[in-house]
């Protein structure tokens, strides 16, 4: 599993690989937590690539409701259909002798109004209707409302949804579901219980070096070592937002662009804004750069 993920450019720790393996085997959704930029979303993308299945992504936000997540009726089309129906109805019912016979015929015509052609599938529905299975990524679930979370429960535990007008839609092949969370709020126990839990911590130096080496191919090993050591020492400081993996990778890319061969204090100072995202953090780190560079 680790190798497989490595093949598609994701360096996974053992715990990540185990959790993923369990998710596939137990057919349970997997809830990925961790601070921003440790590769939660990337894990889902890489898994989709590894399993060669399509990825359906749903970004959660406050106010997201089932009409945007699950399905919607194509209202405009329905409206046009009624207009046509109105015209045709007269012709179809013209030869009916009385009201009862007309009603009889009307019942026989079949209820097309709420049927598949008028259904506009949204991400969740799309994922359930994929015949060969797919990877469904529900991003930042903690940003959505509690009501939506409750609504997800049916989808996550039974891989089915009920559409009142049509009945229950059941997935032929259950999708592999990833939920990611930044811990903006605590998720409900019911949701947590239905998921496997995976917390991705900030990586250790060796792992991070491998990640940088994979993500930024042109970088020299010596520079990677220094860069990672510097970022690791930054994380020990008391910062508002300590740099995560994506920042390290961005920084490595920036250094490649600048043709840097070594970490000079001036260079670090100029590019500090790539890894630190708060003015206070930058101000706090700047005076210590030389010291941090020497410490290792």
């Amino acid at each position: 599993m680790v190798e497989g993920l490595g093949g598609v450019g994701y360096i996974a720790s053992r715990r990540i690989a185990t959790a993923l393996y369990m998710a596939v085997n137990l057919q349970k959704p997997i809830l990925v937590e961790g601070s921003a930029g440790v590769g939660k979303t990337e894990l889902a993308l890489s898994t989709a690539r590894l399993m060669a299945k399509p990825l359906i992504r749903m970004q959660c936000y406050e106010g997201l409701d089932e009409s945007k997540a699950l399905y919607e009726w194509k209202y405009g089309k329905q409206l046009l259909y009624t207009q046509i129906l109105k015209d045709r109805m007269g012709a179809a019912l013209a030869d009916a002798p009385d009201m009862d016979a007309a009603m009889e015929r009307l019942h026989g015509m079949g209820d097309l109004f709420f049927s598949e052609p008028f259904l506009e599938p949204r991400p969740l529905m799309q994922a359930l209707r994929h015949d060969d299975g797919c990877v469904l990524l529900i991003d930042e679930i903690d940003k959505s409302d509690e009501a939506f979370e409750a609504f997800l429960l049916e989808v996550l535990s039974a891989y089915q949804v009920s559409v009142p007008e049509l009945g229950v839609v059941i997935a032929k092949t259950p999708p592999l579901v990833f939920l990611t969370s930044n811990n903006v709020r605590d998720l409900g126990d019911a949701l947590k219980r239905r998921c496997l839990h995976l917390h991705i911590p900030l990586p250790e130096a060796a792992l991070e070096e491998r990640i940088v080496a994979t993500r930024v191919p042109g970088i020299e090993a010596a520079l990677t070592g220094k860069l990672v050591a510097f970022v690791q020492s930054l994380r020990t400081l008391d910062l508002r937002k300590p740099p995560s993996i994506s920042e390290t990778v961005d920084w490595a890319r920036a250094l490649i662009l600048l043709h840097a061969k070594d970490l000079e204090p001036t260079l670090v100072r100029d590019t500090l804004n790539v890894i630190l995202k708060f003015e206070q953090d930058i101000a706090a780190v700047e005076p210590q750069i030389v010291e941090l560079l020497q410490r290792r």
Binding site: T18, L26, I30, E62, G63, S67, Y75, A147, R193, H197
Partner: protein, 451 residues
């Protein structure tokens, strides 16, 4: 193995990792899937299934390590066989006791197994309190057959040629005692330590905060953690602006207006949307001498509230009133409390003066969306309570709530003007435990009805 797994789940529950029956089933399926061969794999897989938050992962790791670690027994290897030894051991009845044989053979693995089995019979895992430890140890040893060993030792001592044997058995016995003690200790740590903490937290939430001597310094840290958790819980529920889903009720007026563009055909449908206000709170906290015991706690809560409610104006007073938002924002919780108390705390109370300060400088903070919370005992040292200002605040605010750390029977006694202030509040409640406080604050936040 099924039994071991169940025991492990029980240990997890004791460590405050919530494991539901459904998760137990998952765990069993997991074990089927990954097997026991690879310890790390086993642990990671179980962790993914059972631990559901970052804290729980930490606790899971600890419990796993404690549960599945077995301290190796430290037994001396048997001495080389000599003919003389055979006699006394038979005479002393070693053959009757399996345990004695194990000890003499130095067979650590068997002894460990025997101890596990005995522990199960003795019900060591049922341990709940730290005071049960010595009794449990005794029971464990009894189950293992310590009495027999002692008898054998006594027998051997009587015989002149049995001294060596007695010595060796005695050493084995002492090692056994140590092991049993350690074993029970570990079981206690697994099953009981966590529940003890939970019990204490529960007690603390019910404890009166203005009790004699105030909050125990030992409890203070736990108290702060409790308050923080409580504030976070409240914030999770209430601090987000909520749109109730725009489904359900059709907004006929809007829909008709929009349909004009399509020749009266309602192509665009408008739904009624409700919005719920975020709470806006003005909190005024008394930190004078008379509430000294509760002040720290009130401030802790103020601090937590400040962290989670966006629109909170916090004030503190004893003689004069000052805004403390800046202090709360810039300092850690202990620092902030200390600083507030240093700046203004523990002086003579003067409610009239404080109200006047508030009315002169900060009255514009109070409008019809604001809830004003007073935290104080309403003891004004016989100074003018300035009821007119209180009335003014009541008229401007959406609600005025007074939380008094004293029980209701004390109100109006001595220099307390609580009953006179009470007329100008919507809710006045006695509140001197964490539990009460949480309930009241929840009520405050919930009354933000949609408009």
């Amino acid at each position: 193995m099924q039994h071991t797994l169940e025991e492990f789940l029980r240990a997890l529950r004791a460590a405050d990792v919530r494991v539901s029956p459904a998760e137990a089933i998952d765990a069993a399926r997991t074990v089927e899937n990954v097997g026991y061969a690879d310890r790390e794999l086993f642990k990671d897989a179980l962790c993914a299934v059972l631990a559901k938050s970052r804290d729980e992962v930490g606790r899971f790791d600890n419990t796993f390590e404690t549960f599945f670690s077995r301290a190796a027994f430290d037994l001396e290897p048997p001495p080389p066989e000599s003919e003389g030894d055979q006699n006394p051991s038979e005479a002393a009845g070693v053959a009757e006791s399996e345990l004695a044989q194990m000890l003499l053979r130095g067979d650590a693995a068997s002894v460990a197994q025997a101890m596990e089995a005995a522990a199960e019979r003795a019900g060591v895992a049922e341990i709940r309190l730290s005071t049960q430890r010595s009794r449990m140890t005794r029971r464990l040893l009894d189950e293992m057959g310590l009495a027999e060993i002692e008898r054998i030792i006594a027998n051997a001592r009587k015989m002149p040629e049995g001294q060596g044997l007695a010595e060796r058995l005695d050493r084995g016995r002492r090692a056994l005692l140590d092991q049993a003690k350690a074993y029970v200790e570990r079981q206690h740590e697994l099953y009981a330590a966590g529940s003890g903490k939970a019990l204490r937290e529960e007690m603390l939430a019910k404890k009166a905060l203005n009790a004699d001597g105030g909050i125990d310094p030992v409890d203070l840290v736990m108290m702060q953690a409790l308050v923080k958790r409580m504030a976070k819980r409240l914030a999770d529920r209430y601090s987000r602006r909520r749109h109730t889903a725009n489904r359900g009720h059709l907004d006929v007026r809007k829909t008709l207006r929009k349909s004009m563009a399509h020749g009266g055909v309602p192509f665009e449908i408008a739904w009624k949307v409700k919005k719920v206000d975020k709470p806006s709170i003005v909190a005024i906290c008394d930190v004078s001498k008379s509430v000294a015991a509760a002040a720290q706690f009130l401030l802790t809560f103020l601090y937590s509230l400040n962290e989670v409610v966006d629109r909170l104006d916090a004030f503190a007073f004893s003689g004069r009133l000052i805004p403390v938002n800046a202090i709360l924002d810039d300092n850690g919780v202990e620092g902030a409390i200390l600083k507030v108390l240093q700046t203004i705390g523990f002086q003579q109370t003067d409610y009239g003066r404080a109200l006047q300060d508030f009315a002169e400088n900060h009255l514009d903070r109070v409008d019809r969306h604001t809830t004003v919370i007073f935290l104080g005992d309403g003891r004004s040292n016989f100074a003018d309570p300035r009821l007119d200002l209180m009335h003014l605040i009541q008229q401007r605010a959406r609600a005025v709530i007074w939380l008094n750390p004293e029980p209701e029977s004390y109100w109006g006694q001595g220099d307390s003007v609580m009953h006179r202030y009470e007329r100008f509040t919507h809710v006045a409640k006695s509140c001197n435990t964490l539990g009460q406080l949480e309930r009241i604050i929840e009520d405050v936040l919930r009354t933000y009805v949609p408009h």
